[in-house]
Amino acid sequence: MEQYESDSLSAAQLAAVRRSMTNGRGALTRRSLLRASGVGALTVGGLAGLSACGIPAAKKENGAGPSNADHSSQEKQINFSNWTQYMDISDDKKHHPTLDEFTRRTGIQVKYTEDINDNVEFFGKIKPQLAGGQDTGRDLVVLTDWLAARLIRLGWAQQLDPSHLPHAYANLAPQFRMPDWDPGRAYSYPWTGIPTVIAYNAKATGGKKVDSITQLLDDPSLKGRVGFLSEMRDTIGMTLLDLGKDPAKFTDADFDAAIGRLQKGVDTKQIRRFTGNDYTGDLVKGDLAACVAWGGDVTQLRSDNPDIKYAIPAAGYMTSSDNLLVPAKARHQSNAEKLIDYYYELPVAAKLAAFINYQCPVDGVRDELAKIDPALAQNELILPDRAMTAKSHAFRSLSEAEETAYEQKFSKLIGA
């Protein structure tokens, strides 16, 4: 029994324990305890332990995609993770009418969770399970296209069964049919389209219209009150367009040119900040006079504040999308497919579009939307006409090496 003590605890720990018992009150100070456990931890951990760790290769060698056991027929449920405010909601904030209707029709219970706030953080959250080949506990997630592309590239997404998706297949808008990262939509379907445009506060600009990236970067009257998005593809894409390059097929040199252009804006203090969603508050207050902004936000802001205006640059604008995806090893794939298809029925798509104000990726929804709100049906940020669609561009998909190099350069630009 005497051996027990000296074996299991280091001398420093013993000393600390001992002093705590003998020296009376306050003898066990935080410092001595920290020191003692630090020494202990190092001994336990040891340097040898370091090399035992490692992060396994993410990419799975897969022929037909990851297989999973589909429990859809036994378990009538879906776990659906989505972004906040990305679903219609009843006036008492307790129900999601379109989801309730889905459950009534199919008997499938939807556990709807708004736990996605940020693509990169959400990726950090689900990565350990996906990398370990485990179920994430989610059957359906909504991810922005570049992250959806990454999951597909890594073999972490389930291939969808087109025979379960008749409405989705028929009604998907042509603009979204052939992204280079998922041609023909084998793995994903868009939940919304996200137009990236220029927004400005007419009161803050003194009534002046702001309609190009060049003006954002060069107009002295906007100095220190210009915002760009911290989402690389939107900010760089808009800048590439302004430089006359095509974001769908740019080169490394083009990317560097765009970074250089923006860096000048940072150095001359023309650009105030690179923001996430928090630009909306700054724009309303006038701290930002003009910025690169997302379509849905613009529609929302405009309905509350008539000073907020937007412009589609003559050089074109970017459209990205948030996409429904079934993560690998999901338990209820065919239930999830039913839900995807359900949201491609025209009346349902119209109800959703009327609530979330982002671009509706469903073709032929205009009449249904006009029944709910004629003004929304005329909103080109929700339902762009053909001339507008012609100006829309998508960012090309990147290889892993490119993605790392570009994100590194972009991080440097935004200061971190």
Binding site: R30, C53, I55, F123
Partner: protein, 308 residues
């Protein structure tokens, strides 16, 4: 003699040997067990894991292997030393401001507040009832370009001075170093006040009377009696403020611009955005090492063992 006594000879001379049962002697270890386990699972193991990550190389697709690539540390430091310097500068300034603002308040609560003491203490803690993020966002409204604060500072020509010093930009406070330091100061102020209050409150008021009896002026009393006795509070308050502030990234993200990014922002960006886990881990360890060295030197100089 028991093993305990052998392991570390007593400083206070020999104590009477206790002849308790084994069970009784094991009690302290049982009491320590939850804490030690907690430390191992949530502190030691993650540290080992991060230390391992920091010497790995690879990519997300191919996986990361331990290659003992210590070069990462040097590269990371070389690339991001401005952010390190900035973090320490901002955290240091915020700590100093917290001390200057917090000491008088803690003093007031401890000695002068009387029956208001509990209410004032609750007011100090009250901001904790809202989230850190919300409190920081509130500063964006307070310091808005067209807001009353900026307007007042501008008409008093305070902003002219601060812009000349490089703390602000023209007629704005947001997206400048001053906004970030203000945010840090505000967010960590209670961590300074509470330890200060605890150690001030412990001071026996008869010591003040005695100082008066010995013809000490109030200033001398403060210098010779009150302040030295409050040192444990000063030390723990500054540590509780400085350490989290130097790793903070929320204030720099929301209140700063590209030139105010701190090392926490770099770690976040490397970890989540660039997916360069080794660099992120190495940066965390460098920050930890710097803070540890600074804190060690500080504690040695302040010479206090009894921290709270």
């Amino acid at each position: 003699m028991t093993a305990l006594a052998e392991a570390a000879p007593s400083r206070q001379g020999d104590l009477p040997v206790r002849k308790g049962s084994t069970r009784k002697r094991l009690v302290p270890y049982w009491l320590l067990l939850p804490g030690i386990l907690w430390l191992i699972v949530f502190f030691a193991l993650p540290m080992v894991y991060q230390a391992s990550t920091s010497v790995q190389t690879g990519s997300l697709e191919k996986g990361f292997q331990v290659t003992w690539h210590f070069q990462t540390y040097w590269d990371a430091f070389k690339e991001y030393y401005p952010q390190f310097v900035r973090s320490l500068l901002y955290a240091g300034t915020a700590t100093l401001l917290c001390l200057l603002l917090g000491y008088p308040l803690a003093y007031l609560i401890a000695f002068k507040a009387g029956r208001w003491r509990n209410i004032v203490l609750v007011l100090v803690i009250a901001p904790f009832f809202t989230s850190f993020l919300i409190r920081t966002l509130a500063w964006k409204t307070i310091l808005a370009d067209g807001g009353p604060v900026v307007h007042a500072l501008s008409s008093l020509h305070v902003l002219d001075v601060t812009s000349w010093l490089g703390w602000t930009e023209g007629n704005r406070v947001l997206a400048t170093p001053m906004a970030v330091v203000c945010g840090l100061t505000y967010n960590f102020l209670p961590f300074m006040i509470l330890p200060l209050y605890t150690s001030l409150e412990r001071i026996d008021s008869r010591l003040h009377e005695a100082a008066g009896d010995l013809y000490a002026t109030p200033a001398t009393t403060f210098r010779k009696v009150t302040f030295p006795l409050s040192m444990p509070g000063v030390v723990s308050g500054t540590l509780l403020t400085f350490i989290p502030a130097s790793g903070d990234y929320v204030n720099a993200e929301l209140l700063g611009s590209t030139d105010q990014k701190m090392v926490g922002n770099v770690i976040q960006s490397q970890f989540l955005r660039v997916l360069d886990y080794p660099t992120a881990a190495a940066l965390s360890f460098i920050l930890m090492a710097i803070v540890l060295v600074m804190v060690t030197v500080y504690i040695r100089r302040a010479g206090t063992e009894d921290l709270v």
